[in-house]
Amino acid sequence: MDVRTVADYMNSGETPDILFWVGCAGSFDQRSQKITRAFATILNKVGLKYAILGKEEACTGDPARRAGNEFLFQMMAYNNIQVLNGYGIKKIVTTCPHCFNTLKNEYPALGGNYEVIHHTTLLQELINEGKIRLKEGGAFKGKRITFHDSCYLGRANDIYEAPRKVLEALDGELVEMKRCRSNGLCCGAGGAQMFKEDEPGKTRINTDRANEALATGAKVIASSCPFCNTMMTDGVKLDEKEEEVKVYDIAEMIAESMN
């Protein structure tokens, strides 16, 4: 797969138009790597001049900050901002709503000012501009799809429409869960919960949410966050529905349906 780093661009005297911030999940988690590759495939197809940081990328510090470790967050932010500013990065796209939120809302106070967009917003723009052309009768045509809102995209940043607009372009039957948009139920991963066991309780949050998604009768649960994707996949597995119901990131669905 042909993916260039910012350093590659610099070496050939060029500058990329946009930085693709891959994020830790997208870089290391096997399931999320597929999302990363799908999104890079789309960017390659539309011929966007994008770059990644590669080995120079590091955790934004989001889970550390939300767990309460401000020192670690500030250290990660300091180093990342040094790298980003050093390369003169202006615009960033990311497939992770947590990275998106931190880069967009929390780095400016620390001297990191960039135009940051989430990949669903970029996909919507590319579809609107006609740069992404979708197959007639693609894999999701007529399929029942439900979209799970990520907290850090939705409530945290008020982005509800872009992912839905992208899904509409796939010509499926979009059905909403009982709790959607600003009422959406969390998948259970945020606030550094991803990295520890649940506190004692009756059920797990992701099983509750997966059950709600399954109750819509959807065959595809669409997500826009690698952590939501993991949580929903686990929830569907627990119900032994993983054969009939698939959990995909919106980028994977578009990559699959592109001409």
Binding site: M1, T36, A67, E70, Q74, T203
Partner: protein, 441 residues
Amino acid sequence: MHIIQEAAFIVVLAVAIILFSKKSRQIYRNIMLGRPEPLNDQPEKRWRNLLLLAFGQKKMFRNPLVAVLHFVVYAGFIIINAEVLEILLDGILGKHRLFAEPLGGFYNVLINSFEILAAGVLLACAIFLVRRNLVKVKRLNHSDLTGWPRSDANYILITEIVLMTLFLTMNAADTLLQQRGYSHYGEAVTGNFRVSALFQPMLAGLSSGTLEGIERTCWWLHILGILAFLNYLPYSKHLHIVLAFPNAWFARLKPMGEMHNMPEVQKEVLYMMQPELAPPADQAPAEMPRFGARDVMDLSWKNVLDAYSCTECGRCTAACPANITGKKLSPRKIMMDTRDRAEAIGENINANGEYKDDGKSLVHDYITEEELRACTTCNACVQECPVSISPLDIILQLRRHLVMEASSAPAEWNGMFSNIENNFAPWKFSPDDRDRWISEN
């Protein structure tokens, strides 16, 4: 007789006002125990929030039926208070229906609309009592409310029903006496009013003297009830009728996902990375700043205002993924605990002149680590709150204290921290493999 009533009224009114202002000053002082935080920028957005969220109760309309009922009670409360102005002046001046003559026909329009609203308030409060005690709406019967909070809610609703009934009965007796041309009631003839006219048949058989007694008793109980209620407010969840307004004005205007920066930590890290920028040791500040919040004084004043504005409706807790799945965390309880602790500190100051360490703190003695650790920071509680409260803001500050000052974190989190520090990712992967996704498939 008139003079005694007037004098008694003025004394009662003065006592009520003095007591209320004393307690109000204490609450103001308790709120100001919090750290300063400037929240007065962007006035156009703040006016918008004040009008839409506080006056317009925008968030309430996420549940339209309850919103309409609540709006009736709220409108009734505000508008009927215009009638209280007349009652106050009548009481002080020893008059009866002071505004009837100068306002002429408009007076009847006013009283008629007050009466219709009063009937609406009565009905809405009755429905609310049913929702709380018979239908047992889940969020209103949650374990958070065991004991005083549940009684508090019922006392408020019952008081409002009693006040409205007194108001209508008073008008019914008054208008009957007018018809009979009895004493001074025959002088200010207003004619019947819409709702209280329906009460008249029940009273019609009574003698004029008894009716006067009923009218006077209702008048006195009505105004005494209102003054007592005024003084009950500061001890009750019902204080939201006052504080919802400043709380909407001072609401955070940043995106919900943005956490407060900690400039003191930012500086520490900067000096560590670029030691040449650090001030010489003898100029460094002597006092170590607090990292996160352990007690109410470490929170922002807005967090404490939030706590006093909370009306314990539980929309936050009903939307909280942790609470829904049976974890101990309840955002409403976070707010109730913060207010309880602020009150305890306030009483401590009242008794000792200044705060004397009582060996307690908000975290541990009121809010447990288990509660704090269950939060997914999903912002559902912040989204739901009709009066612009952020329980999440408090949770995150307490978490900062636990990790940075008390060094208390679950083992998995400590592992995650060391992975981020050493491998630049929350998992134990080699940073060299960060771009391996390109070649793998």
